[in-house]
């Protein structure tokens, strides 16, 4: 799950920052000449900066391999179900709401009035995909449900004082 990966990654690196600052704060009580410290840590900075740039570069390139904007490659005879989604203060107008597991779906999302956010939540109330619903534009979400169940659509862009009532459901069967 992406959320868990994001959480664990953040925790690891945030803990590292905590440790570094704690050690420096602790060692600040000692007093040493600045020049040798500068020399030593300027040298270390080269290694640190190179490592950091490498990690960021690798992670950046790796995570850019598959993007939610890209049209998936469908198998032969596997035409996607195209669903028209129109957001309106404060509800969702959808051309279809019942789907099968394994059925490739394209949600073409737009808005009749203001900006909304089309967020798909699974049965555990975890987001599995989203896009913005904008007036005058259509954003397409590509998804193939892998589990049956009742999925929820929540508005994820503030759209007015009844924003949190903008909830709808999708049913996915075997």
């Amino acid at each position: 799950m992406v959320q868990t990966a994001a959480w664990v990654t953040s925790l690891v690196f945030m803990s590292l920052v905590v440790v570094v600052y704690a050690v420096v704060a602790w060692k600040s009580k000692e007093k040493s000449d600045y020049e040798p410290i500068k020399k030593k840590w300027n040298k270390a900075r080269k290694v640190y900066a190179t490592t950091l740039v490498t990690i960021l570069l690798v992670v950046c390139i790796y995570t850019l391999r598959e993007l939610p904007y890209d049209l998936p490659i469908y198998g032969e005879g596997q035409d996607p179900t195209v669903v028209d989604v129109e957001a309106v203060q404060f509800g969702w107008l959808m051309s279809e709401t019942e789907f099968k597991v394994g059925e490739p779906i394209e949600f073409d999302v737009t808005s009749k009035d203001v900006n909304h956010g089309f967020g798909i939540y699974d049965e555990d109330m975890t987001i599995i995909a989203q896009t913005q619903a904008m007036p005058e534009y259509t954003n397409t979400v590509y998804i193939t449900f892998t589990k049956p169940g009742t999925y929820k659509i929540l508005c994820l862009e503030y759209c007015g004082t009844a924003h949190h009532y903008m909830v709808s459901e999708l049913t996915v069967t075997e």
Binding site: T4, L52, L67, Q132
Partner: protein, 493 residues
């Protein structure tokens, strides 16, 4: 070039700067209370009407950024005025325009129920589903325009003064030193470099903001006037992201000035430092597109650029500023007091806040994290534990050098109370984000409530600690000049 030339009346300027800090500090504390109320409502502890919740949301976001920017601009002005001749008149106009803007925004939100959130995403101000009317929308939008004009005036003045003293904004960033035309010893001081960066990015941000505000105002008055919603969104985030981001670039001047002074070490300007600030200038202007990663209609290259440059934007702070601060403090025998402690804490807050920010700027992560509470999680760390702490650090510093108001045990308790409370507030947002809790939702489902309640409790301690900081500074304002120290007029490392 780093000779002190400006600000021949530093002590009389302290009143002016102090005013911006008092207003900023008090508004920040007040906005924290709205934050607590929202968390309590989301946690199911209190009942707040939907309309009222979103009014709180609107004032909390607008007020926090506005107040922190106001105080940070005061800090920047204080230090920059030692090197260039800034206009006091312009600063007074800036304060006046900001105050007029704030009053209009508050009246628009609370008297006329305007609740578009700080983002006022077109065409929401005009299409409110009858929740607010034209007057409320116009009061808010015109108030923001007046407030922005105040800031724009200030940056035009800082730009003018930097150009007059250093020749150009490029030279203010030290480009002639980077290119080798000038010796490193003649590089502009850190204060000037940071101020030049902020002048460039915030002038651009404010022009973008004014454009989208004016278009919204016309649309509210005459709905037949329409414009492209994607263009509007680009302008809104170009304004909001840059303006909010620039707060820390103004406030970090405190860290540059205070840590070397307290550690009795020189934090010299190097070519790496100058390159880092040029990188920050460019990246800050370009990375606002990471707010639009879920706008699939955007050109794909702009979204990929949003991710890549957001990653790169972590480098100047991680490799230069934070690293430099750690080097200055390491084994320095530094004298810890409230000012130096808060300066160090703020650098920790900035550094640690970079981590969840970079994670969220990753497109595949953003696909399931965008507009969840993960986003306020990272910026509460960055702003609450970073930028705002820098402002508090400056408050204690000024009180120390310009009055006989002493720090007490209560201040030390407030330090730890603040640090733990803001860390807890940020952490509960991150946990909520990982649980897919949407942000900007007046109600929460049962599974989302616990972190919100925890955050509200932590928020109470945060307000208490902040109040102690502000009371200390208000005491300073009443006893200004009683120490007679010239420390604030000395050239800094």
């Amino acid at each position: 070039m780093s000779t002190v030339i400006g600000n021949n009346k530093p002590k009389s300027n302290n009143k002016l700067i102090g005013t911006s800090l008092v207003i900023g500090g008090v508004v920040i504390a007040a906005m924290m209370i709205f934050g607590i109320l929202m968390l309590l409502a989301q946690g199911g502890v209190i009942s707040v009407s939907d309309a009222m919740f979103y009014q709180f949301l609107t004032i909390h976001g607008t007020g926090m950024i506005g107040a922190a920017a106001l105080a940070a601009a005061g800090v920047m002005w204080y230090f920059l005025s030692r090197y260039v001749n800034l206009s006091r008149k312009v600063f007074i106009w800036f304060l006046a325009l900001v105050l007029i803007g704030v009053v209009m925004v508050v009246v628009g939100v609370f008297s006329f129920k305007f609740a578009s959130a700080w983002t006022f995403l077109y065409p929401l101000p005009a299409i409110s589903a009858s929740a607010w009317g034209t007057i409320g929308a116009l009061l808010y939008l015109i108030g923001m325009l007046i407030l922005g004009t105040g800031f724009l005036l200030l940056y035009i003045d800082t730009g003018r003064a930097i150009i007059k003293t250093y020749g150009s904004l490029g030279k203010g960033l030290g480009w002639d030193v980077i290119s080798g035309k000038k010796r490193l010893e003649d590089a502009p001081p850190k204060v000037v470099v940071a101020s030049t960066m902020v002048t460039i990015v915030n002038t651009s941000a404010l022009i973008a903001g004014a454009t989208v505000l004016i278009m919204n105002i016309i649309n509210v008055i005459n709905p037949s006037f329409t414009f492209d919603p994607l263009l509007a969104k680009n302008l809104t985030y170009a304004f909001g992201h840059i303006f909010a981001n620039a707060i820390i670039y103004m406030a970090v001047i405190v860290v540059y000035e205070l840590l070397p002074k307290y550690a009795n070490r020189k934090w010299a300007v190097t070519k790496l430092f100058l390159v880092a600030w040029t990188m920050s200038t460019v990246f800050t202007l370009l990375i606002y597109t990471h707010h639009m990663l879920m706008d699939f209609a955007m050109p794909k290259w702009m979204l990929i650029m949003g991710q890549a440059l957001s990653y790169a934007n972590g480098l100047p702070v991680l490799v230069v500023t934070a690293y430099g601060a750690l080097q200055v403090v390491h084994k320095s025998g530094i004298k810890w007091d409230m000012a130096s402690g808060l300066a160090f804490l703020s650098m920790f807050g900035w550094t640690v806040g970079v981590v969840p920010a970079i994670v969220d700027a990753t497109i595949v992560v953003n696909h399931v994290m965008h507009n969840t509470k993960w986003v306020p999680g990272h910026f509460h760390m960055y702003m609450g534990l970073g930028a705002v702490v820098m402002l508090f650090s400056f408050m204690y510093y000024l009180a120390k050098i310009d009055s006989n108001v002493k720090e007490s045990k209560l201040d030390k308790i407030a330090f730890w109370c603040y640090a733990l409370a803001i860390f807890s507030v940020s952490a509960q947002f991150l946990v909520s984000g990982a649980l897919s809790t949407p942000r900007r939702w007046a109600i929460h489902y049962p599974g989302w409530m616990t972190p919100a309640v925890f955050g509200a409790i932590a928020g109470v301690f945060l307000v208490i600690a902040t109040s102690i900081f502000i009371i200390h500074f208000v005491r300073y304002m009443k006893n200004r000049g009683t120490l007679g120290s010239d420390m604030n007029e000395q050239e800094t490392a």
